[in-house]
Symmetry: C2
Subunit: 338 residues, 2 copies
DNA sequence: AATATGAACGCAAACGCTTGCGCAACCAGG
DNA sequence: CCTGGTTGCGCAAGCGTTTGCGTTCATATT
C-alpha cells in the first residue's frame, strides 16, 4: 500500500542499501545508477519513513520548539522565523505549547520529546528542574528569552539597557512621577521583568528620583492586565504623569484604560512601551524595539551550527541590538509644555 | 546510554512484550505486575522511542499542522487552541509554516509529512494539486479556513453573512458611499475574500446602492496593505464616507492612514473590520467577531474523533457563530449627525 | 602476468518497539 | 479426573531504514 525502499530497489534492480545511499547522497554509488534510482523514486512517489530512518540512524531531523503561548505575538513571531530556518535546512519542527501549568507539568514529567528530536529551542525559561530535564535529553539547547541557563545557547537583548532608554526618555521630557507596569517573573521563571525593572530603577536613581513602590503595578504581560494596572495607577492619590509599560501589549491596555478615563495621551499622561509590537505603529506607541524575528532566526541558526558538529562548546550569549522609537504617546508633563 | 524497553524488562524480570503491554494499558497483564513495571519505568526514566513504536505499530501519535504564517494573529491563535487539544490527547504536533512560495513548493513536492503523521490540520487552502497530495497521505484531514475541499473536515464561519452584518450596519447609519478593503484570493486559494465581498455586494444591492468598482481596494490582509488601500480610497474624487475592511488588521492600517490624513474616526470616516483581533478592543474598532480559538479547538476535536475510528465518513462542515460588535469607529456620515 | 587498489554494490545485522501466537498454569463445570 | 476456557506471560517475527563489512570487477601498478 505505501511504497517502501525495497519497492524502488526492485524497480531499479538494485539492493535497498544502494537506494538508501543514492537517495541520501552518500558515496559508493555511480552517478548513472544514482540518477536511475532518483528517477524511480520520484516516479513511485517514494519518501523514506522518518520513523524507520531515525530508528536506524539515531538522527531524527526534527527540532523541538517549546513555547509558552504560540498565540502571543512575540512567541508566534520568533517561532515563525525559527521554523523557516529549520525547514530550509531540512529539519521538521515539533511544537510544544506549554501555556497551562498542567500542560507544562505533563511535558516535563512525561518528556514526550525524548528520543524524538535532535535539538531543542525553548522560548520559555525552565526552572532548574526543568532545565535539568531538558539537559538530560543530551541534545543541543537554545533559548531566546531572558535568563541564561548552563548548556543553553542564548540569544537575547539588553533588557536593562532598553528599559533605561525608555525611562530616561520620560525623565528627559521632565517627568518626575513615573509609573511602571510590569509582570511577575515567577510563573515563567524568566528574568526579563526583573531586568527591565532594574533599568527603570537605575534611571530613577540617576535622576535623583525616589522610587515609589505604589507606582509599580502588575500587568501580567497581557492587554487586559495592562488595563487593570493602569486603572490602579490612576486611582492613586498622586497618579503618575508618565508610565513605562514593560511590554507593548500592556502599554496598549494602559492606553485603553486612559481613554476610558477620558484622559488624553500624551497631553495628560505619557506612555512608553517595550518590544515594538506589530501594531504599535498603528496606535503610535513610543517604544523600545527589539528584533524579534531576527532573534528567532539567529537562535535557530546557532542551533544548526551546533548540530553540525564541531562546536561542541556552546557559544557565548548573543546580544541583539535594540532601538528606541519615538512616536506619539509621550510628551512633557501637563502644564510643562514647551 | 539511553534506557530502552529491555532495560526495564530486565529490571522487572519480565519480557519486553509484557513491559510494552503494561505501559500502554493493554490487557494481558496482571495489575500487580503492571504496577511493578510502571514503577520500574518511572525509576529508570523510561520513555518509549516514538520512532521505534511508530515503526512497529504504524501509528505516529503525531498530527501535522500546516499554516501559512504562524506569526499572524489568526493562525497563531488557531494553532494555539488546536495544539492544546492535540497534546491533551497525547498527540504531538508537527508544524509546517508555509509562508513563502518556496517553502510551500518544497513542502508539497517533498511531502516531508508523509508517513510521519496520523492526521493533518491545514490552516491554508491547498489548490487542487496540493489537496490531492494531502489526500494521498491517506490520513484524516481538516481545515478551518474558507473553502472546503472534498475529504476535508471543515469548520468555519459564515463569511458572507458576517460581511453582510458589517455593511448593513454602515447602511443603517445612513452611509451610501461605502468602500471595501479586501485581499486577493489567489496566492492562497481561499474563498474568504470572495465570500466577504459577496456579502458586501449583497447588502449594497439590497439597499439600492450601485456598487462602484473604484471603492474596492486591495489590502492584502496586512496592516500595511490596509493603510495603502485606505490611502488610495482617500485619493478618490469621491472618497467613501465609510469603509468595510475584510480583516481587523487591514482596518487598523486604515485607521492609521486616516490619522495621517488628519481625518477623525468616526466623525469623518467610519471603519468596520472583521475577525475581532485581540487588539481591536484596544483601538475601539467596530467589527464582526469570529470565535478563532474555538474553531481551532473544534477542528482538532473533530480530527481526533475521526482518528478514533468509527466516523469513517467526514462530517458535514461545521459553522461557528459570529457576532457583530459595535464599538467606536462607526457613526452616521458627516453632516448627518442625529 | 600477477598483484595491489579502489569503486560499486550486496549481505545482514542492528535500531527499539508491537503483536499474533503459543504455552503453561489455573479455575470452574461435568 | 478430565475437559474446556481463562488469564498471564514469553517467543519471535516483523516494521523500514542505515551501515559496517565483504565481495566482485575493472583499472592501475609492478
Amino acid at each position: 500500500m505505501t511504497v517502501s525502499i525495497t519497492d524502488v530497489a526492485e524497480a531499479t534492480g538494485v539492493s535497498a542499501s544502494t537506494v538508501s545511499r543514492a537517495l541520501r547522497g552518500r558515496s559508493g554509488v555511480s552517478e548513472e545508477m544514482r540518477a536511475r534510482i532518483v528517477a524511480a523514486a520520484a516516479e513511485l512517489g517514494y519518501t523514506a519513513s522518518r520513523s524507520a530512518s531515525s530508528l536506524a540512524s539515531g538522527r531524527t531531523y526534527t527540532i523541538g520548539v517549546v513555547v509558552p503561548y504560540v498565540g502571543r505575538w512575540f512567541f508566534g513571531t520568533v517561532l515563525d522565523a525559527a521554523e523557516k530556518v529549520f525547514s530550509a535546512a531540512g529539519y521538521d519542527v515539533l511544537l510544544y505549547n506549554l501555556g497551562s501549568p498542567e500542560a507544562r507539568k505533563r511535558f516535563f514529567t512525561k518528556l514526550p520529546i525524548r528520543k524524538r528530536v535532535d535539538a531543542v529551542l525553548s522560548l520559555l525559561i525552565p526552572d532548574p528542574e526543568e532545565a535539568a530535564a531538558l539537559c538530560s535529553l543530551g541534545v543541543p539547547l537554545a533559548t531566546t528569552v531572558g535568563g541564561a541557563r548552563p548548556g543553553f545557547t542564548v540569544v537575547g537583548i539588553d533588557d536593562r539597557g532598553g528599559a533605561e532608554s525608555a525611562v530616561r526618555h520620560l525623565v528627559n521630557l521632565g517627568h518626575r512621577r513615573i509609573g511602571m507596569i510590569s509582570g511577575a517573573s515567577e510563573p515563567l521563571h524568566w528574568t526579563t521583568p526583573l531586568d527591565r525593572r532594574q533599568g527603570y530603577l537605575d534611571v530613577l536613581a540617576d535622576a535623583g528620583i525616589e522610587p515609589d513602590p505604589v507606582l509599580e503595578a502588575d500587568g501580567g504581560y497581557t492587554v487586559e492586565g495592562g488595563e487593570r494596572a493602569m486603572t490602579e495607577l490612576l486611582a492613586l492619590r498622586h497618579p503618575p504623569t508618565a508610565v513605562f509599560a514593560q511590554s507593548d501589549e500592556m502599554a496598549m491596555g494602559a492606553l485603553r484604560a486612559l481613554r476610558r478615563h477620558r484622559l488624553r495621551v500624551p497631553e495628560d499622561v505619557s506612555v512608553v512601551g517595550f518590544d515594538d509590537h506589530e501594531l504599535s505603529e498603528v496606535v503610535g506607541l513610543t517604544t523600545v524595539a527589539q528584533p524579534v524575528a531576527a532573534q528567532g532566526r539567529e537562535a535557530a541558526r546557532l542551533l544548526l551550527v551546533r548540530l553540525d558538529g564541531r562546536d561542541a562548546v556552546s557559544p557565548r550569549p548573543v546580544e541583539m541590538p535594540i532601538r528606541f522609537i519615538l512616536r506619539e504617546t509621550t510628551a512633557p508633563p501637563h502644564g510643562n509644555r514647551r
